[in-house]
Symmetry: C2
Subunit: 192 residues, 2 copies
């Protein structure tokens, strides 16, 4: 099996983005993550920070609008989803790459030779890691993780109808906390 | 991290047992699967075939008894669980090994250095495989798979309170259908 594209979904703080970058570097192929945000920003006219929140961590408003009884056309989140969908499809057609987040696994499910990866770790590992990487915040690391997990799962479920973190949705899932980031990179590389 | 014990949970027909045996052989350590059934049979006085059904694929009766309003002591399934629990704990203490099925991942969660693996594959791959390995039956392969999946998940949930197939319960989950059995063996071996 030739996997032209590697998609990495990940729990916040699990190191999935770091793993994605390391895999891409080792394989000599591009990794899209922040770059995706920039492209979506350029195409949509929205600010990157807005897209980061609206696009990945489903805001209350977006989910609320979906269940609203008031008739309404597509909202900002739907508009961004559309742009994101097209962009990811185009990138996958362009050549081999790693794509982190943004429901790429779902978007490419019928369109590309995909190795679909999910990275997770337990709360203690991730709590330590987000403080190391992103620094302290007013909310405790555990609170921040619970909030991000909830929003990411809700966004994913809303647009893909797939259960977040269900083994059956992926080719491989890895616990970066027990296996270590290096082992994760090695395994993904070996499957490409 | 030194993983002394490898536990393999698997969807029926995914090749998890075959993978477990190959990993054990490559590492030169024992693999417990049928052997576990034989030991439980010897200790309990029940026939192996009964244990296979009662112990792994929760029979309606067992689940029904759990929700029954009639006061009752432990039933056969609880009695077998007790024996299985002790046996798996003892085996893990004895030395490195691979244990296939029987909720070993849950039983050893606090007791051993465990590499917890889950093997799955899509319906088409498993349907083809169970016909190749176990032959035709009156029920269609898809019906057989749906039935086994349901029973295995119910048994696992009943005794462990963990969600079957949830990535977060494992160190690594692998899709044997897309990756191939050999790649699964190689990855598990490399993590030991």
């Amino acid at each position: 099996m030739k996997n032209r594209v590697i998609t990495i979904s990940r729990e916040f703080g699990s190191g999935g983005r770091t793993i994605g970058r390391a895999v891409a570097e080792a394989l000599g192929i591009p990794c899209y993550d922040h770059e995706l945000l920039q492209e979506i920003a350029a195409k949509s006219g929205f600010a990157e920070a807005y897209i980061r929140d609206a696009g990945e961590y489903a805001p209350g408003g977006m989910i609320a609008s979906a269940f609203s009884h008031q008739p309404s056309g597509p909202n900002n989140a739907d508009y961004l989803w559309e742009i994101q969908y097209k962009l990811i499809t185009e990138l996958a057609e362009k050549g081999p790459c790693v794509i982190v987040g943004r429901c790429a696994d779902y978007i490419l499910r019928d369109k590309a030779d995909c190795l679909r990866v999910f990275i997770h770790a337990d709360m203690a590992f991730r709590a330590k890691r987000i403080v190391d990487v992103y620094g302290e915040r007013e909310a405790s690391p555990e609170q921040r993780l619970r909030d991000k997990d909830k929003r990411r799962a809700a966004y994913h479920r809303f647009y893909t109808d797939m259960k977040w973190g269900h083994a059956q949705n992926y080719d491989v899932t890895l616990n970066s906390g027990t296996l270590g980031l290096d082992a994760c990179v090695r395994i993904i590389k070996s499957l490409y």
